[in-house]
């Protein structure tokens, strides 16, 4: 118990001290994970809507596999992306291994199935209510998909936050494709892993508290935005 109170105090001290290296790590973590969440939403939400509305052979298999991919192990995704981006790999010429871009790619791949799968379920539930009316009005399948994504936007925010949380918490993927390079690709989770392996457990725990606080903060902002939107719009 004492370790945890010390960790909380340590976290507060770290933030108050304003250590530039810590703030750089926090900024990079947010930039990488928020970017990955954006990409995963732009790809995953329409994919989920499409799977909810369209009917084609093999659809059920794809849905099951997609659901399974929600639990993709981050270290496996990291390994896969590393082999793709390695100089000896097919995309080596891009030269983006060990950069933030590679980290965004790996995290996007990791969380797109989460957003796609959740939105598929949400849109499928809505589709059973909306289908006849939308067909009656002459909406194409694509148009219907986007209309439903907007109508279920509060659930979409929840799916987004689920994806964000998963990406913000993972260490396996960003460690392998980013290399945890000091001042360049070091993010909160890899910094915590490093401090743990160096035996500085109080610092690692304090950083962990900072990370959790950030994740809760993002959730709080999303909650506030959603409430404000519900009150001022519809």
């Amino acid at each position: 118990m004492r370790d945890f109170t010390l960790a909380l105090a340590g976290a507060a001290r770290l933030l108050a001290q304003g250590d530039p290296e810590l703030w750089q790590i926090i900024r990079l973590s947010l930039a990488v994970t928020l970017s990955a969440t954006l990409v995963a939403t732009l790809v995953g939400a329409p994919l989920g809507a499409l799977l909810a509305i369209a009917r084609f052979p093999g659809r059920r298999v794809i849905v099951v596999v997609l659901n399974g991919f929600m639990g993709l192990p981050p270290v496996v995704v990291g390994l896969g992306v590393y082999l793709l981006l390695s100089r000896s790999g097919p995309l080596g010429a891009l030269g983006i291994l060990f950069t933030a871009k590679a980290m965004v790619i790996a995290q996007s791949l990791l969380i797109t199935p989460i957003i796609a799968s959740l939105m598929r379920q949400v849109v499928e539930d809505a589709w059973s209510e909306y289908r006849e009316q939308l067909v009656s009005l002459g909406a194409s399948a694509w148009r219907s998909g986007f209309t439903l994504l907007w109508d279920t936007r509060y659930s979409l925010v929840t799916a987004l936050l689920a994806g964000f949380g998963r990406a913000a918490a993972e260490v396996g993927a960003v460690m392998i494709v980013g290399g945890n390079i000091a001042n360049y690709t070091r993010v909160m989770t890899t910094a915590i892993a490093l401090q743990t392996s160096m035996g500085d457990l109080p610092l690692a725990l304090a950083l962990g508290c900072v990370l959790i606080a950030i994740i809760i903060g993002i959730n709080a902002i999303a909650y506030g935005v959603r409430n404000w939107a519900q009150r001022h719009y519809r």
Partner: protein, 267 residues
């Protein structure tokens, strides 16, 4: 929609991160954890304007990384593995840079009675014979390879290492030290990580200063003939600087708690 725009800005802003000239150096976790890099590298960047991106892994992993062409320079401490790397055509222009040393740490209670010995081989033999708990990294790192060489030169048969007193963690120096501290076991560690290690509990240094415990570091360029993407000019600049008087002086000036950690060895 405002959030959307903010995220778009974040994504676009990412490329703006540190686009100076840089080289990628594959090095080891123990070197990184010793804290040498934040002391050493800024001096190089100041002198040449080239940033150094260090990817820190176990020696085996670092060399594997270089064999796939994902690094420009390799900076590790396992002479046999480095020589093999060069012989196989993956590395060129190897230079000696520095050495630090290994120490044998163990519980204050010292069941194997090795405290103060200056013959590392004899000490390892006594630990094996007394079957006292011993933690090995087991991860093909430079430290791990040095440990295995010590058992061999001490005459300890490989079968003895399969007994239960010998624990193989398969992890880095820090986590292995954590394990040794909580189990009151003996362990071979590099002095750098030991001095920076914050959680030793009842462990103390028991054996040191034997020449066989010296841990030499080498640096080499990843072969640009094999991997055209290697930044050979900047990489060579780094190697040249490390072995130059300036580089060597910077290495010697690095201290932990007033103690010098690395000893310049370029020749």
């Amino acid at each position: 929609m405002k959030l959307f725009q903010l995220l778009l800005i974040a994504l676009v802003a990412l490329p703006a991160y540190a686009q100076n000239r840089f080289i990628t150096v594959a090095s080891t976790t123990s070197t990184e954890q010793s804290g040498l890099f934040p002391h050493l590298l800024p001096a190089f960047t100041k002198a040449t304007g080239i940033d150094v991106h260090v990817v820190a892994l176990g020696t085996g992993q670092a060399l594997d990384l270089a064999k796939r062409g994902d690094a420009d320079v390799v900076f590790v401490h396992d002479r046999p593995a480095e020589d093999k790397f060069v012989a196989e055509g993956f590395g060129v222009g190897r230079r000696d840079v520095m050495y630090n040393d290994f120490i044998i740490a163990g519980p204050k209670s010292d069941p194997a009675k090795v405290a103060g010995m200056t013959d590392a081989d004899a000490a390892m033999r006594k630990i094996a014979e007394s079957k006292s708990p011993f933690i090995s990294r087991g991860d093909r790192s430079g430290t791990n390879m040095a440990e295995l060489r010590l058992w061999k030169s001490a005459g300890v048969a490989p079968e003895k290492l399969k007994e239960s007193w010998y624990r193989d963690t398969g992890s880095g120096m820090g986590p292995s030290l954590n394990t040794a501290a909580s189990m009151n076991a003996y362990i071979l560690a590099d002095r750098g990580t030991w001095l920076s290690f914050k959680n030793p509990r009842d462990l103390v240094i028991l054996v040191q200063s034997d020449k066989v415990l010296f841990n030499p570091y080498g640096v080499m360029l990843v072969n640009p003939a094999k991997f055209p993407n290697v930044k050979k000019e900047e990489g060579q600049k780094f190697i040249d600087w490390l072995v130059s008087p300036d580089g060597q002086k910077t290495i010697a000036s690095y201290q932990i708690n007033g103690k010098q950690l690395f000893f310049p060895d370029a020749h």
